[in-house]
Symmetry: C2
Subunit: 385 residues, 2 copies
């Protein structure tokens, strides 16, 4: 982590306002973090920003925060970094302009772990649910996370006991990427029973993330505020088990408000931990999902990066080297001749001529007057082809 002036400024800003700090975030976006930090320190900022920062503006521990983070193997990811998940977090800006409570992007994010946050958020699904989960719920969460991670989707959750923990463990078991978003600082050691799990997430291909500066204790309102980040960083949220008043329903509501997909898993009607899921489904606030394929179906329909990632990748999985190079030399909308393809792929023309009809049979390429093109893959049925 390079200690820049921007990073110091954002470390300061992260500490002087309790998230979600809508006015401060907008101010920092407008004038830049350095000028924003200077204005807040001097008390010379718009009234709305002053209100958010009044209580803590003298609390400047930016340098020691960054040092402490470094010691703990944590980094402060800021919007000025390549790793910043700008696109997923954009929905928070949009929601903020629409006046939504949850509409405030984070000023920066503390993270520990091997994964890049922007990559992890490229195609991600949230799996959330009750702390007091049933064995059935934990099994489902683990299996869904395993299956999604196997399909190269990141699994994002809140690191709590019950469903959250089972989801992280399932993704880890599949060797996939999982992100734990905390409602306290990375050094708060919470939940204490999950210290080893959080360590594993950071060590393997995952990330532990928080917008709270070092020394911030967990609190109920922070879990709710954190929920907007889980929703924002994912294509959709799967609620596995939720009682009638569960926090998981808050995540679901936030996800819906942010325009994300909300899914819920049904269970026995005799189970209180499924009652919240059944309510969500009955009220059309969530779509029923009964399998990993159901989730893939729904998330894939978005037609975003997730779909691109899900279908073509898998369909070309079995291709040999030359065929793959030919396929990658093609474009979606513009046709190419065999000669052009040979030049771009480095595969000899006769071999290109032999491979193209084979790829056409596989449904991966097509030919029209303009020449050969990659074929657009839509929906799941073609995936199994």
């Amino acid at each position: 982590m390079v200690v820049t002036e921007e990073r110091l400024a954002r470390a300061y800003l992260l500490r002087v306002a309790e998230p979600p700090a809508r006015a401060l975030a907008a101010f920092a976006a407008e004038v830049g973090p350095i000028a924003a930090a200077k204005a807040v320190r001097a008390g010379k900022c718009p009234q709305s920003v002053a209100d958010e920062t009044a209580a803590r503006r003298d609390n400047d521990r930016a340098e020691s925060d960054l040092e402490a983070g470094e010691r703990d193997g944590a980094r402060l990811i800021i919007p000025e970094d390549d790793e910043w998940p700008a696109w997923p977090l954009l929905c928070l800006d949009v929601a903020g302009r629409r006046g939504l409570q949850s509409g405030a992007p984070p000023l920066a994010l503390w993270a520990r772990g091997a994964a890049r946050l922007d990559k992890a958020a490229e195609a991600a699904v949230a799996i959330v649910g009750s702390r007091a989960a049933s064995g059935y719920g934990e099994n489902v969460a683990g299996e869904f996370a395993f299956g999604l991670a196997r399909r190269e989707l990141s699994v994002i959750s809140g690191a709590a006991f019950g469903i959250d923990g089972a989801a992280h463990r399932g993704a880890l078991a599949a060797g996939g990427v999982t992100v734990a978003l905390l409602g306290c600082s990375l050094d708060a050691g919470y939940p204490s029973g999950h210290t080893i799990l959080l360590g594993k997430i950071a060590e393997q291909r995952g990330l532990v993330v928080s917008e709270y500066p070092p020394g911030t204790r967990p609190a109920r309102h922070r879990f709710l505020v954190r929920n907007r980040l889980i929703a924002a960083l994912t294509e959709g949220t799967v609620v596995v088990e939720a009682g009638r008043r569960s926090g998981a329903r808050n995540t679901a509501n936030t996800a819906m408000a942010l325009g994300k997909l909300v899914m819920a898993v049904p269970g026995p009607i005799s189970s209180a931990t499924s009652a919240g899921c059944h309510d969500l489904i009955r009220n059309s606030a969530a779509t029923l999902v009964a399998s990993v394929d159901d989730v893939i179906d729904i998330v894939g329909k978005l037609g975003t990066a997730t779909a691109e990632r899900l279908w073509p990748k898998r369909r070309t999985d079995g291709l040999e080297q030359d065929a793959l190079r030919v396929h990658e030399a093609l474009q979606r909308r513009q046709g190419k001749s065999a000669e052009q393809i040979a030049t771009e792929s480095g595969v000899p023309v006769p071999r290109v001529r032999a491979l193209l009809p084979a790829l056409e049979l596989e449904g991966l390429v097509q030919c029209d007057e303009s020449g050969w093109q990659q074929r657009r893959v839509v929906g799941r049925t073609q995936e199994s082809a």
Copy 2:
């Protein structure tokens, strides 16, 4: 059962065409059963009717059918009887005019049991599901049927093993009305393991019903044809458990085609017998119901006779004799004076004057310029008032 010329004609018509006999039903409705029977016997009928009756038109066993029925304690209910459920079956006429396969009203219905079919179909819910039900499914079917029967809704099902049987038994346990609709004749003794159950249904407050003449054996296509009657005679159908290819899904589709409500009960996603229910819910073909109250909520919203039956009855349950008589002397839209009410109810005027404000506080009556009226009760929230 009075043996009239109409009944003999319909007994004959019921035997000469395999249901659903759309052309014959329409012809009988148009020219009347006696003329229709005469025309069919003589082979002098429209071509579509001739097609439906060609194979069996010489098979005239009407008299012996009625005699055999009488011996077995069965009666042939015909559209000319007061007991005919004309209003519920109207949806089959409508569907027929829209060209739907299931759109053919029965020409008559064989029935055995103490209940009146028209009354039983006034406020009824179908509970259907897999033969190969799980313990969970049978429990849910039994509990739902019990709860609905307690709320004075009839429970209609198909007398099959599994969910159907559990539904009939649940309604019987509540002392309620239950109707078994068979896919064979009443004397077919099918399903053989349910002979005692069917006997109980007929003896207690229920009915065993079939549109098939004596001696008709069960067959797969007859179950499907029978399903349209289950759907038509009920406000809505609850699918408790159904595999992906279950016949219960056919009932659900038929119910939807007839404009009826379709509901489905969720279950563990690991259970194959819930997969069909989950499909119905996910595809918005059914509304998720997780309790008897959910069903009541949905069926009550229809605002039909069912709602009338559900709410006021329950609300006046606790009233003492005089209050009940005063309440029943009132009308919905036309006001009455205390004197008129006293005359009609037989309750003395001073007592009527004392009871009316009490009933008003209960929300059961209201007063305007025209006088005192029954108050319309809408929705469930008022029920608990």
